[in-house]
Amino acid sequence: MMDAFYEAASKIDSQPIRSWKERGGKIVGYTCSYVPSEIFHAADILPVRLRGIETESMEIADAYFGPYICTFPKCILQLAGKGKYTFMDGVIITPGCDSMRRLDECWRKAGDTHPGIVPDFFYYFDVPHKTTEHGIQWFMEEINHMISALENQFNVSITPEKLQSSIREFNRGRKLLQELEDMRAKTDIVISGTDAYAVTMAGTVMHRNEFTVLLENLVKELKQKKAAKNDKRKRIMVIGSISDDISLIQLVEKENEAVVVAENLCFGVRYEGAEISENDDAVSALAHAYLGESKCPRMYGKYKERLASLKQIIDRTHIDGVIMQNVRFCDLHGSENGLFERDLEKEGIPCLRIEREYGPLVETGRLKMRIDAFFERLYK
């Protein structure tokens, strides 16, 4: 059951992507959870979230980005430079944060020395930083621009009806993911955090219909699964910088008496939990849903709302401790984690704040030492 999710979650050139390509399907890569996948679904294009896993060295990315910047976009550029993303028919870059926004220029420039790595459709999709009415209006314009650009490039027609039908299809998955989250919130543990993260991660690269079917079966199976009696494992929440690598969750769960029961991570169930209106104007519904919730610290002036939502999850899922990590040079999560730590510790919620390098290039010894010490604190 889990194999299909792990296949998609842990490889860039995974089976679902290969078979879509073999059928002649188009693929567009994107960099941020603020890009509405429904739009691509409506155009029968497979949206694939760009990832940095499988990076083995950094010589291309270092040349364009320099050393003092987040390693995540650097890993994406490195992979692009190595030709790992040539299966993409298009790429969409968003200003998720400043480092990610720089990927636009660096990738284009790297194309001069690495021919063929910049796809014909290389599009910058702007996302406002405020949820004011003005911001929403602007975001709707951006969405409409992107729809036109896709229509011209791929010779497709993205009608309001098609969009609404895609919203309905995505909502089926959103409901199921919410059910999965409800199960994880219970004290009877039926799924590990690593498995759950692999599931949501797979959702960012698989075709949605295929994903929804797999998810439906998984939820059905988990509902019948009996939880272990007297589970003494500590219940952990992981939050912070981008993570598209399940090994981070694995590191927490593997050698410790712990289970990750919730997370607020890009690539995790962040926006996926909430359904999108199926009755309103499709573009307006997408704009309100994607921009409205402000769960990422890239959004201005919403710290209190984010703290409240975090506390709500902590209560709902009976969290024993929160691990807040940030990739080095991640100003957004680095500073927000400091605030979260201050405010949560005040309420007696144990927090571990760690800075790390992103994913595949990391030696995990230091990270493990700090996580071990945190569990010693939780078990004292």
Binding site: R328, I354, R366, M369, R370, D372, A373, E376, R377, K380
Partner: protein, 265 residues
């Protein structure tokens, strides 16, 4: 009678401590080898010889440090954070904040009255502010690590370094040497740079009195005295044992509490 041990396989040195009835029977500090298992065996053997006993007589042993998972003779492992907390508590009973500077990392740990860790922070993947930093700088100045510690009290005019990066600071030192600055000024500047870097970590965990320092760098008088000035607190000197063995000592103390609570080999 309970005879226990603790073994701390660190990045630069490995340490072992043998204890009996809350007293140190023997201890060792050796340079770590390329094989952590061998480092552990060698440190343990030296400590056993000093204590005049054999490995068979050890009832419980806890391992810690970066090489802890590779030690063959231990009953369990603990993080060095917990071990340094316990070790420092034994060395300085009034300690609530511990600044530990080891070979490749530095930590600031806040403990409660029982030595249990409340809050900690460590540096990340950078030699700046670690024992390795001092080692490299002493080498550039062509002096011993002990001598470097004495430099601070010998001058009133330490150099200020623009960067705490080990590589950049090294280049800076060479520039100062060539410009004719005295070794004392440069050495005191190195100690001050180190102290400022570590102060940043200590401030992050919110210092509570008393403060003590463990790890090899606690033996550098210059760093300790500058750190006192920068933090504006008195740092209790560790006198009961070598501050460098605090981690292994804490591991031995955890072993002791295991025996007292009924665990055995």
């Amino acid at each position: 009678m309970s005879r226990v041990a603790g073994c701390d396989v660190g990045s630069l040195t490995s340490k072992a401590v043998i204890m009996e009835n809350n007293k140190i029977l023997g201890w060792s500090i050796i340079k770590s080898k390329s094989d952590p298992e061998e480092s552990a065996n060698s440190a343990m053997q030296t400590a056993l010889e000093k204590a005049g006993c054999t490995l068979d007589s050890i009832q419980y042993c806890v391992g810690t440090g970066y090489g802890r998972d590779r030690i063959s003779f231990i009953n369990e492992t603990k993080s060095e954070i917990a071990c340094h907390g316990m070790g420092a508590k034994w060395l300085v009973p009034s300690a609530r904040t511990i600044i530990d500077i080891g070979g490749q990392d530095c930590k600031a740990i806040r403990i409660d009255k029982d030595g249990v860790v409340e809050k900690f922070i460590t540096n990340d993947k950078c030699a700046s502010g670690t024992g390795r930093f001092l080692e490299v700088m002493a080498k550039v100045l062509d002096i011993g690590l002990d001598e470097l510690g004495d430099m601070t009290e010998k001058t009133e005019t330490p150099i200020t370094f623009a960067s705490m990066c080990t590589v950049w600071a090294q280049a800076d030192i060479i520039k100062y040497i060539n410009s004719g600055y005295s070794v004392e000024d440069i050495g005191a500047g190195i100690n001050a740079a180190m102290a400022k870097r570590v102060a940043m970590l200590a401030n992050t965990v919110k210092i509570e009195n008393d403060v003590c320092m463990t790890g090899g760098v606690a033996k550098n008088k210059g760093v300790v005295s500058t750190l006192e000035k920068v933090l504006g607190v008195r740092i209790r000197r560790v006198r009961k044992a070598d501050p460098q063995i605090a981690g292994a000592l804490g591991a031995a103390l955890i072993s002791q509490s295991k025996i007292n609570n009924g665990g055995s080999k």
